[in-house]
């Protein structure tokens, strides 16, 4: 779809603020990193001590991808998903044993925290993982895993990072590769990621390595975050019907073509997603880009929950429609209410307020100019002198 470049630029600027509001706030990110590091060090040391074999704990999911978003409920908690990869043989354990052992370890970890006088998260058992709930901020889902010795059969990259995880019934092993997947996702935006990371490092006067890759706000990340937010708002009343994040992220990553501006990327991605969803043997087929055997649309099968496919296409139609309306509407005051409806009122309000403050800062610092003939405010034309807005 054609959209005037200057309009797209301005929308991108508003969405840049919106993305910052949508992203995991710095304080939550820092606290979660602290808690993660403490847990990872302890689990690893404990594993080595008791089993004299190695273990590794790392992020997976949206925290690893940098696409995590603020919960719709303002006091909602963020998800931090972790993998606990134990370097043991498949024959030496079972799915059930793996989960039970992690539970025991975490109970001891909590005792350790207690002794140290640290704040105590609540330990909750999931179907195949355990949750440490740090009330009011985030909860960590820790999924036990073992190396996938047969990863080369189906994985297309990062074979050494392939893992086996218990399925939800704790009966079978499932293939997974969170590191490989995030590697693929980052490769889809390689140039911009590198570029923006360097800019951030320069601005902060630190080495590039000091800027966590997942904290670099790239256009692709913002697009995924905005699409996920759109979904969360639309399915607020019936969250169990939501299209899953991995499908949104995968499709967006597949069709993203390196657009440098958020709105431009958003329009390009939403216009191409539909064409990316294919069928194979009469069933919907959205393959894991790094594991050709895995179909993310598995549950859309006719024998499973085919209504999921319908819901996804309904949502996609809504996305296409909503952003087309945004791109055509005139008047900031007429565009913002549309954004509020589709992305949430308080979030959009905060973003637009910050956008307004940004304009004021440019004005106050003498950087705002007005172009002749049009009156457009920007970097060209007569400097807008400082003034006082009289009255209330």
């Amino acid at each position: 779809m054609f959209i005037d470049k200057s309009r797209a630029d301005q929308l991108s600027e508003i969405l840049r603020y919106l993305g910052e509001e949508l992203d995991v706030p710095d304080d939550v990110y820092k606290t979660s990193c602290q808690k993660y590091t403490m847990l990872a060090d302890w689990l690893k040391a404990d594993h080595i001590e008791r089993l004299s074999s190695d273990a590794e704990i790392y992020h997976q999911g949206s925290m690893r991808l940098g696409t995590a978003i603020r919960p719709v409920k303002e006091d909602g908690e963020y998800d931090v998903d972790l993998v606990y990869r134990r370097n043991i043989k498949k024959e030496s354990t079972t799915q059930d044993k793996l989960k039970t052992e992690l539970g025991e370890q975490l109970e001891r970890y909590i005792k350790y925290l207690n002794k140290k006088g640290e704040s105590i998260p609540q330990l909750v058992s999931g179907r195949r993982c355990w949750t440490l709930d740090y009330k009011g901020q985030f909860h960590m889902d820790i999924l036990p895993a073992i190396p996938d010795e047969e990863a080369s059969r189906h994985n297309l990259r990062d074979i050494a990072d392939g893992i086996n995880i218990p399925d939800e019934e704790l009966r079978n092993w499932k293939d997974s590769n969170p590191k490989g997947y995030s590697g693929w996702f980052n490769d889809r935006q390689k140039v911009l990621l590198l570029e923006r990371r360097e800019i951030m490092a320069k601005a902060a006067e630190v080495d590039v390595e000091k800027i966590p890759e997942e904290r670099v706000p790239t256009p692709l990340r913002r697009v995924v975050q905005i699409l996920k937010r759109h979904r969360d708002i639309r399915y607020q009343g019936n969250p169990e019907d939501k299209p899953i994040s991995i499908i949104i992220t995968t499709l967006a990553g597949q069709v993203y073509a390196g657009e440098g501006d958020i709105f431009e990327a958003l329009m390009a991605v939403t216009s191409k997603i539909r064409g990316e969803i294919r069928q194979k043997d009469g069933e919907w087929w959205i393959p894991n880009p790094i594991n050709f055997e895995e179909n993310f649309a598995d549950k859309w099968k006719k024998t499973e929950e085919p209504q999921r496919a319908n819901r996804f296409f309904e949502w996609l139609t809504q996305v296409e429609y909503d952003f087309a309306v945004v791109s055509k509407q005139t008047g900031v005051h007429k565009i913002v209410p549309i954004l509020s409806t589709i992305l949430g009122e308080s979030l959009v309000k905060r973003a637009v307020e910050r956008y307004g403050k940004g304009i004021d800062e440019k004005h106050q610092s003498g950087k705002l100019r007005m172009a002749a003939k049009t009156g457009l405010l920007g970097a060209i034309g007569t400097t807008v002198k400082r003034n006082t807005w009289y009255g209330a």
Binding site: V332, G356, D360, G375, T388
Partner: protein, 161 residues
């Protein structure tokens, strides 16, 4: 150039109405000016504050040495729900500056001051409409919620700088 700078160097001089009009037309060639001898003028032109903004038809009425009065002709300014529009004088005239702080006097070109402020006012207005918050700083907030009487113009020819 040299001639001009010598001419303006020593003192502020009230710009003639025709000078104001010429500068406005020069900056906005498609605008219209109606001159009333050398006493007053009315300028009507279009402002497009930002790419996403509406295009506004703006009227500036200026009587020599008086406060330039700025009104938006089209589209009509609208309150937000029941919140009155901020920074307006009675008669929906835009409040753009304070004489008190010597921000404007009749030696200054309307095209370089009033016009950019109007464009910025309109952008802040659209943002205010969207958020309920006026994002321009240095905004004054007197206890009563409507601007008082407009200030008296400062006559630069009498207040020698």
């Amino acid at each position: 150039m040299g001639h001009r700078s010598i001419y303006f160097r020593n003192e502020k001089r009230t710009l003639k109405v025709v000078e104001q009009a010429t500068r406005l037309r020069c900056r906005f060639p498609e605008s219209h000016v109606e001159l009333n001898k050398n006493i007053s003028m009315i300028w009507v032109g279009s402002l497009h504050p930002s790419p996403l903004s509406e295009i506004y038809t703006v009227k500036i009425s200026y009587k020599l040495r008086k406060r330039p009065q700025v009104n938006i002709i089209k589209p009509e300014l609208a309150p937000r729900n029941r919140m009155p529009i901020p920074h307006l004088f009675p008669g929906k005239e835009l409040c753009l500056f304070r004489y008190k702080y010597f921000e404007w006097d009749s030696s200054m070109s309307i095209a370089d001051t009033i016009l950019p402020w109007t464009s910025l006012w309109l952008l802040h207005y659209e943002i205010w409409h969207a958020t309920g918050v006026w994002s321009g700083s240095k905004a004054e907030h007197p206890s009563d919620n409507r601007p008082k009487e407009p200030e008296q113009a400062i006559d630069v020819d009498k207040n020698d700088s």
